[in-house]
Amino acid sequence: MKLKDLAHSRTGDKGDIINISVIAFDEKNYQTLQKLVTATSVKKFLGEMVLGEVIRYELPNLGAMNFVIHKALRGGVTRSLRLDKHGKTLSSYLLEMPLEIKN
């Protein structure tokens, strides 16, 4: 199973920092997501694409989490050499993260 099977996502940017939301399609899967999609696992999955730390904020009311990722855009939208200067496509990448769910 992949993250895209349980959640949807959108990237936002401010300077060289992006946030990627992870929102459960069904709120009853929130706890599973909370267990498997951590700051550490997200940082590992994004690999060399992001250089800075990853911070996770939890929104149980919404069945959602917000990942704030530093040094993610080679300098930010106004000066980045990246094709996708906003990092908007990184939400699609994160949704490909494999989830190991034990039955």
Binding site: S21, I23, M49, N61, V68, R74, T78, R79, L81, L90
Partner: protein, 445 residues
């Protein structure tokens, strides 16, 4: 006092579609329409334009939007608030007054709200850049503009003085929505929980179509109807700060808890501390409830007192960007594109280019994601070389190097494109709020 007011969002960025706003004004039973058109860097570019011609420096689509929307706003008694003033709200207001007169609309009161230009208040000795932690002095002679994010105060004065159209420079995006709510319901500027609710409304609305299913469809699980005719959102709020988001019935898109959740977290860091000039809004306890099709009730937003500091966007010259591309197709397309990269790297070294930073992308292979998701050989590859240089000359030289791959590089490279652009970058500093005074001037048609 009205029991509820209805605010439409007419634009989510400078180049947004115009017809959805016209539909909203005509059929949305609105009290206000807000156009958010000023991205982080836009004001620095506008400042450059103003330096060349002091009658310019406002949003390039202002004329088109006003011609389309002003007559409707006047006939439907909808007030218009926008940051289309950019670097020159006075020129924007004069231009709008002229358009109103040409359209035969008389006695329209137009307010220009400014005071956000704080370039003369910058202090190179003490201020540090929030992004890099370096002293502001590193940007010294390269600075183009410095604009503080103003709060609701200037817009409130203009509303109290009966303005029909309000054109601002840099203000915090949610303030464009929060100001008319405070005005209509006489909210106190010290009632932070209420300001937090109005800020949540503003934040959900400021990207227009994005809360109505724009930027949401994923081509599989998340289907959105009729995106070609995407409707823009309407928020209806009462004096207690309870509100819902909806859209016109005959418009495309959809408003659901899921579209609202994605937009709520868009460009947010800590959801319990969304910093604005008037309140630290707390979105952490918000919940969404679908009360009818395409009508979502929002509850649980709150707010706390603020820091007394305003964020200032500093625009500066940051050299040039070269961007150049060439395509390879068929068998060994990827091998030839990689060979091309090696050639360019060697050429840069042997010619001794002064390149500050360089990036090689293989579009279709690794331009978006550096690590592969699936292991598939591509049948077409586009090499992109993007580089940053101090001088235009080097940037031009670099894009020409890629072009020489036509006759000097691997077989069958095609469709070279080359662009060189001057970079205007943005970083931020903080300034004490009490040093920044909003100014309002009025013009009439």
């Amino acid at each position: 006092m009205k029991k509820t007011i209805r605010i439409g969002s007419g634009a989510g960025y400078s180049g947004d579609r115009i017809e959805p706003a016209m539909d909203l004004i005509q059929k949305g039973d609105l009290d206000y329409i807000v156009f958010e058109c000023l991205a982080e860097r836009t004001i620095a570019l506008a400042q450059l334009q103003k330096m060349q011609n002091k009658e310019l420096g406002y949003d390039p689509l202002l004329g088109d939007r006003m011609k389309a929307c002003l007559p409707l706003c006047i006939s439907k008694k909808v007030k218009l608030i926008s940051n289309m003033g950019a670097a020159n709200p006075i020129a924007a207001a004069k231009k709008t007054a002229k358009i109103a007169s040409e359209l035969g609309l008389k006695s329209i009161k137009i307010a220009a709200v400014f005071g956000d230009d704080v370039q003369s208040l910058l202090d190179f000795e003490t201020q540090t850049l929030l992004e890099s932690g370096e002293s502001l002095s590193v940007l010294d002679d390269k600075i183009i503009s410095a604009n503080a994010y103003l709060g609701v105060e200037g817009i409130l004065s203009a509303l109290t003085d009966g303005a029909d159209i309000i054109l601002t420079g840099r203000v915090a995006d949610p303030a464009l929505f929060l100001a008319p709510i405070i005005h209509e319901f006489s909210w106190s500027l010290g009632n932070y929980p209420l300001l937090g609710k109005g800020t949540a409304l503003g934040h959900l609305m400021e990207c227009a179509g994005q809360v109505c299913g724009g930027y949401f469809a994923d081509g599989a699980k998340k289907q959105v109807p009729d995106l070609a005719n995407l409707g823009f959102p309407i928020a209806e709020i009462n004096k207690e700060g309870s509100f819902f988001i909806t859209k016109l019935k005959d418009s495309g898109g959809m408003v659901t808890p899921a579209t609202c959740k994605e937009q709520l977290l868009y460009e947010v860091h800590d959801p319990s501390e969304y910093l604005t000039p008037n309140v630290i809004a707390d979105f952490s306890s918000i919940s969404f409830k679908e009360i009818e099709k395409d009508k979502v009730e929002v509850s649980g937003a709150s707010g706390k007192p603020l820091t007394g500091k305003l964020k200032v966007s500093v625009g500066y010259h940051d050299g040039y960007m070269a961007d150049t591309q060439i395509s390879y197709g068929g068998s060994y397309a990827l091998e030839r594109a990689k060979l091309a990269i090696e050639i360019i790297k060697e050429r840069i070294q042997s010619i001794d280019f002064d390149v500050e930073d360089i990036l090689f992308d293989l579009i279709g292979v690794d331009s978006l994601f550096k690590e592969k998701i699936a292991n598939m050989p591509p049948t077409e590859v586009r090499l992109r070389v993007a580089a940053k240089t101090k001088d235009r000359k080097e940037a031009v030289q670099l894009v020409n190097e890629v072009e020489t791959l036509y006759t000097n590089g691997p077989a069958a490279g095609g469709g070279v494109s080359k662009t060189v652009t001057e970079i205007v970058a943005i970083q931020s500093v903080l300034i004490d709020k009490n040093r920044v005074t909003p100014i309002v001037e009025y013009f009439e048609s």
